[in-house]
Amino acid sequence: MRSLELTLSRRRALAGAAGLSFAAAAAGLWSRVGAAPRITITEGNMQPMPIALPDFVGGALPDPAMARGVTQIITSNLQRSGLFAPIDQAAYIEKITNIDQVRFPDWKQINAQALVTGTLSRQPDGRLGARFRLWDVYAAQYLDGKEYSTPPDNWRRIAHLISDAIYERLTGEKGYFDSRVVFIDESGSKERRVKRLAIMDQDGANVRYLTRGDDLVLTPRFSPSSQEITYMSYGQGQPRVNLLNLESGQREVVGNFPGMTFSPRFAPDGQRVIMSLQQGGNANIFLMDLRSKATTRLTDTAAIDTAPSFSPDGSRICFESDRGGRQQIYVMGANGGQAQRISFSEGAYSTPVWSPRGDYIAFTKQAQGRFAIGIMRPDGSGERILTDGYHNEGPTWAPNGRVVMFFRDPGGSAGPSLFTVDVTGRNEQRVPSPSYASDPAWSPLLR
């Protein structure tokens, strides 16, 4: 009886549900009849946004050309991002004298969608003061404005900070212009190449050398949370993991491990370093606490597991391994354990790097004698090759996760140089460097 009742009630419930769904469908149909249709725009154009950047108004500056220099750096930053098309200053109709008063029709006429006005002046305490205003020309409204002050020799940084503010306001994401890049500077002939650790602004300016070139240095990596780098040095045949604080100049040898050590990289908290150690014919991944120097083994296979990289939230690690035959990318939990393979195409994958946004993993892919830089989602979907050629290697992410820097070696007698490409693959740019350059590592935003 109970089962019958149950059946009946279930049947009734089903009938009721069917009736309800039918009624809901009918109501939906009814509401659609007579309602004004909504038009959905699912696509826009990918043209860079036209932006007008008249020279900053300068007053009593130590160097009158400085105001123009700031404008030029901002213009160059925005142009290289590939998202903006600065309009030639020769086309400007209005000459800006007051940064708070703008004649919008004059800028609309030259098709500028955004306008930046600004002043640069010397403050009573001798520091440089900069103000800027960002305007939406079509909506004829004020969007953003900020003020900065800095010592006069730091004027380039003001330009980068203003570039970031403009970029963030117009694209909706953090900028990456106020950041630096460490890289391996390579000079001398191919046979007697001297490799030095060097650092420069992301646009190639302000190059400084961090090592003298006595030891072979490799794989510099930035801490994601501070201006600190870790790198490998090979002095007297001993591989060492080094730490270098860029602000204090303090150097520290983290560890002297038996056998070969590869690719140390910081964990997101900046307190731990993850690396691979070679033991016999295979290599495994280890995590080391920088304070206690305690080392934890994360993988234990008979294969070569190397190039580990943390996800930005610190919960997972991606690495390359040849445990399946060829080098492929795997993802595992931060404490090791079962690893899941995420790359499946033809070719060998190496040097996976998790984006600071967490949405992509950049990698180097070798297939048919060519090296490509690509990205894929952490679950292995959406693989996209951003650039392809004879030899591209060593991807590193901009702090906002929208641009990848890598080095390209054209082969022959020429040496490598640095390039950037955005995640769409449409905008590739060469980064100027004093001589040959390789193995770049992008810093987080300066604070």
Partner: protein, 323 residues
């Protein structure tokens, strides 16, 4: 035989069960089909009342349509209603038409209206009406005002007399002669146009694209697919969505715009959402910029102004950053 007998017994029990099953099946089918027929027939599809007008245009026309121009000429007034394209006929010989038929163009009659009616012989149909009025007046006003009554009675007599005098044989000859003095120099064109008025209303050179206007259930007083498509393409060319789209978050910006008859914005676009972060703020501003930069919206035709004077638009860059 025994085998056959066994089968027949089994068949009897099976057939009884079959009958139940069949009966049940029929009953269920009748219920389901009946319910379906009643339910689905209850409300006819209103959207099929009239065919949806779809304009098929050439590439060059489309380019002109989407390009837009501030100096564009004003739209032509709407064509007269035509349900189908009529054949172009050369005008008939007016002289022959007059001789054969006595059909008058509507415009001729209109010209007659202001003129006082001459005392023409009345037809028999009008007689009872005249009598009724005269009788009613007689009843009301006969005794206190004898003069008026007399006048009315005189009128009645005057009207009555011609009836008797007019000879039925003379009637066909007189009307054409009496039409001639009604010539109105202001309506020469109307008089020259001897086409029948019915054909004017029924046919035209171009099929009217707005035949459904005024019909409550018509679908042709909506924007056509080609108009919506042209609008969408135009807006797409003006919209520069911000590049900072998060991969795991979809931001759709709903905006309502109001347009004037000159196809430009009547007011600032109304954004129906509030920015929650830097990206949604940049999205809202990019959508607003696109709407302002894209005007005037020349793809819309003036007769349909009611349908496009207010538009709701969703900006959703799903096809750009979704994959």
């Amino acid at each position: 035989m025994s085998a056959g007998h066994t089968i027949s017994i089994g068949g009897a029990s099976t057939s009884r069960r079959d009958a139940w099953t069949l009966g049940g099946s029929i009953a269920v089918h009748v219920i389901v089909l009946g319910w379906g027929a009643l339910t689905f027939a209850a409300r006819p599809l209103t959207s099929d009342a009239t065919p949806m007008p779809i304009d098929i245009i050439s590439v060059s026309e489309f380019t002109e349509l989407t390009a837009g121009s501030r100096n564009a000429p004003k739209a032509q007034p709407a064509k007269p209603v035509a349900e189908q394209i009529g054949e172009r006929k050369p005008p008939d010989d007016p002289a022959a038409k007059i001789a054969k038929t006595e059909v008058h163009a509507a415009t001729d009659k209109a010209a007659e209206l202001p003129e006082p009616k001459p005392p023409t012989p009345e037809k028999k149909q009008l007689e009872p009406q005249r009598d009724l009025i005269a009788e009613a007046i007689k009843k009301d006003l006969a005794k206190p005002e004898p003069k008026k009554a007399e006048q009315k009675s005189e009128q009645k007599k005057a009207e009555a007399k011609p009836e008797k005098k007019v000879e039925p044989k003379a009637e066909p000859k007189t009307p054409p002669k009496k039409d001639q003095p009604k010539f109105d120099p202001r309506n020469v064109a109307a008089l020259l146009d001897k086409r029948t008025p019915q054909r004017l209303a029924a046919t035209g050179d171009v099929v009217n694209s707005n035949i459904g206007i005024g019909a409550p259930n018509a679908s042709s007083n909506q924007l056509s697919l080609s108009e919506i498509d042209a609008f969408r393409r135009h807006l797409r060319s003006c919209w520069n969505p911000p590049a900072g789209a998060p991969t795991n978050k979809r931001v759709v910006v709903p905006i309502t715009i109001r347009l004037k008859m000159d196809r430009t914005l009547a007011a600032q676009p109304e954004v129906e959402m509030k920015a929650t972060d830097a990206y949604s703020l940049a999205m809202i501003e990019s959508a607003r910029r696109a709407i302002i930069a894209c005007q005037p919206y020349t793809m819309f035709s003036l007769p349909k102004y009611e349908t496009w004077k207010e538009l709701s638009i969703d900006f959703d860059p799903v096809e750009m950053f979704g994959g």
